[in-house]
Every structure is written in C-alpha cells, then in structure tokens.
Symmetry: C2
Subunit: 140 residues, 2 copies
C-alpha cells in the first residue's frame, strides 16, 4: 500500500481525494482505462467529473507518476510507475499482465541499445499475443 499523498506531493501535485482515489484504484486493478477508472471511483466519490479524470491522468503521466500502456485496437491503459517489468498484452481481450524482468530480455535490451543505437526504456516493453484465458475461449 503506497502513500499516495507523499507520492503526489513529491511530484509537485496537491494530494486531493480525487487523485488519491484514482491512484488507489489503479494500484488495485493493475492496469485501467480512463472509463474504468471513472466508473470505479464514482462508486465511492459520486461527484467526480470525467473531465477531472482526464486532466489528472494527463498530468500524472507527465509527472511520471503513471505510465501509459498502449493496446492494439483498444484504448490505452494506465499503471503506476513501478520497477522494471515486461507487459504481456492480450490482443483478444486487451488484458495486461506484468512479468518480472527476464534475463533473456536484459540481453535483448543490451543488444538493441548497443548495436542498434536505440535506448530502450525498460518500463515499456510490450509483447502482444493471446493470453491463456482467451486461448481457452477460442477453442470452444
């Protein structure tokens, strides 16, 4: 459980209830779209405005509190900035799974950064495929 108030203040943002609720919901769910964040937070904070969600997501991405995860054919999702990990993004359901940094992945990063002259940001290594749940669904 993160101290959202401190996190926000360290990023130069005021610790409002709206922002802390947004961060708390994202931490619980892992990865959320704007819509889902809004729908979740109004359950406990019904006066929340969708415009406020938009403004805050943009702001918190700029400040590096949140990270945007793009999804093929769908709206992007947002997660808290956390330690390096790989995203497995399901092309069927859009679900995002975090996987710990992998030694093979490290080699790939080193190779790309050195040989290809392209500095990889490890927070954004997104591999697209079909998750286990959707594989089972497809078979039926």
């Amino acid at each position: 459980m993160t101290d959202y108030a401190t996190l926000l203040k360290e990023s130069g943002l005021k610790a409002t209830f709206q922002r802390m609720n947004i961060l708390e919901r994202i931490e619980v769910y892992g990865h959320m779209s704007i819509d889902t964040i809004y729908e979740e937070v109004i359950k406990t904070h019904p006066s929340l405005s969708l415009a406020t969600v938009y403004k805050n997501i943009i702001l918190m991405v700029e400040k590096g509190v949140l990270v945007e995860v793009p999804i093929t054919g769908k709206k992007p999702k947002y997660e808290l900035l956390k330690e390096d990990h790989i995203h497995l993004v399901c092309t069927e359901c859009g679900d995002v799974e975090d996987k710990p940094q992998h030694t093979v992945a490290d080699e790939l990063f080193a190779s790309m950064t050195q040989k290809e002259n392209f500095t990889l940001s490890k927070q954004q290594v997104n591999l697209y495929g079909v998750c286990n749940y959707c594989k089972v669904e497809e078979a039926s």
Copy 2:
C-alpha cells in the same frame, strides 16, 4: 514492389484505386497513421474521402493485409503484413523502426510461450525507447 491487386483479391477485397494507393504509400513509408495516409494519397487522388481511408484501414486490418502498431501517447500506425520482425517505437517522435527477428528475441518468445502460458504473436513485439535522432535532439 508488391502486386497489390492480387494481394487484395486474395483477401476477398476488390482492387480499387483507393486501396492500391493506400497500400502503395504504406509500403513506401513503412508505417503511417490514418491522417498521413490521407494527406499522402490525396496528392495523387484528390477526390479521396477520409471516410474511405477509415473504412479501408479497418477492413484491411480485419483481413490481415495490414497490421496496427500502437504508439504510446499517439495515434496508431499501420504497416503491411510482412515477415516476423521487432518494432522499435520511439517514445519521443513516435517513429517506428523495423528490426529483423533476433535470436535473443526468439528465446524470449519461447520462454514466454512455454513458461508463462501466453502465445506471443511475433508480428507484435513492440519495444519502446528513444531513437538515435531524438537522443541527439535532447542533448542540444
């Protein structure tokens, strides 16, 4: 230089001038957004409608002629379906670079597919970072 007419017909689509122009521009540029496709094609085909571009991109992605490449914080780009490769996506300028399939990457795919029960589609391995051009820009 691909035979776009045959490619389209094999996918069950009529080979219209609009579609062939769209495919030709995408092949030349490598990766394009809807806007850029429209702006490019009207240069040689001024009566083209933006709605037609939307309809055709959606259709050709469905038919597997085109592949959508999601870009953090930007609109998606589209490329022709081609042999397996890795996408290096620049988080600064949004530019996409293709890199040939890498032996290290193959190991990563095998690992994810076997251990993690997640079937990777090799056409969609997108690594985000900062390209060489933007690195030079940032330094100034």
